[in-house]
Symmetry: C2
Subunit: 206 residues, 2 copies
Amino acid sequence: MDDVLLYLLKRGAASNAVRATTGEIGAALNMTQQNASRRLNILINQGAVSRIQDKLAISRKGISELRETYSTMRVAFEEIGKITGKLTDGVGDGKYYLSLPGYKNGIKEKFGILPYPGTLNIRLDGNEVWKKSALFDGAPAISGFKHEGRAFGELFVKACTLRSIPVIAVLPKRTHHPYEILELVSEKNLRKVLKIKSGDDVSVTL
Amino acid sequence: MDDVLLYLLKRGAASNAVRATTGEIGAALNMTQQNASRRLNILINQGAVSRIQDKLAISRKGISELRETYSTMRVAFEEIGKITGKLTDGVGDGKYYLSLPGYKNGIKEKFGILPYPGTLNIRLDGNEVWKKSALFDGAPAISGFKHEGRAFGELFVKACTLRSIPVIAVLPKRTHHPYEILELVSEKNLRKVLKIKSGDDVSVTL
DNA sequence: ATTACTAAGACGCGAGTAA
DNA sequence: TTTACTCGCGTCTTAGTAA
């Protein structure tokens, strides 16, 4: 995938002709203006980009080229975006953590919901465990705090869905859980709403 | 975006370690086995890919790299995937064409629905018109046929949605319509179902 | 059967500069 | 101000071949 073409896509050159100088493209992509100029002309000669007066637009050919890469990635990432496992009994500490104002209010602030006191614990299938780190990669975190003299660490939070119900996957930065457990928080009692019980296969999306 | 990394993604190396020889990678990407080997090792040194015995897996770092490109593209393509315009009165010929067994049965075969006799015509906003060619780019076509001595040409068809209702965008290969008109076919009378009338703004997705 | 080294040539890039 | 030419260097690629 050509970086210049991708940059033009980012700039919206697929929908409308946009003004983008070779100097600007070069700066954005960490290359010289001269090289950006050269590479842009290659794209133009290939018919992937067209110059319209002093503006640039990605042509149909350029778009289908980009779209091909996009579909490949979409298929792969949709597969990645599903984490499957079995519903399992928690040890009850999720309930305690969610009763703490620090976490409770943090979730309220970030997602606008007051979490049901208790987490849904999913034991991930063996070859799904690695997805957990991908899930929380770059996820926002609720700050740590002190409560009754004890320090509580940061909590990574990530919006997901479970059978179309919005849920929040949470991961304490310093977790005490075995790593193959995924913890979910929701406004509602998910076991009741979804009529699921321990041992059921579930799949979390996004 | 590195082509070798993208190829591994395509092969599913993001979810599981997959067996992929450098010869195979080279053949797939039109490069020599030697070069594929060299480039693979660069990715491994960068920490984007890891070798597990004789299999390859994309690491967390490689995945977030790919995901960044993916998000860029998704934002851009979601914008592209929406075509907006105003509902307009047709000249009634859509109704005639959809009464012809050739087209009617072609749609029945491809989509499993019997089209409502009549098309919904959308006059695209000026800067949306170009999306029409992108929409039908690579779309399947219903074969042409002869009917009562007259020849009817191929009809491009593409599944879309209009306010969450599945519709079929159609484009006769040799159209008599002005090009800024997008024609939609559906099982139902969309004007009734969606309670829309000429002049209303509508947006077709996908 | 597969990986990866080496040498030589092709190609891409930055710098200088012209238009 | 912006584009794009030339030159020289360095990286990437291929082909041959070893492990």
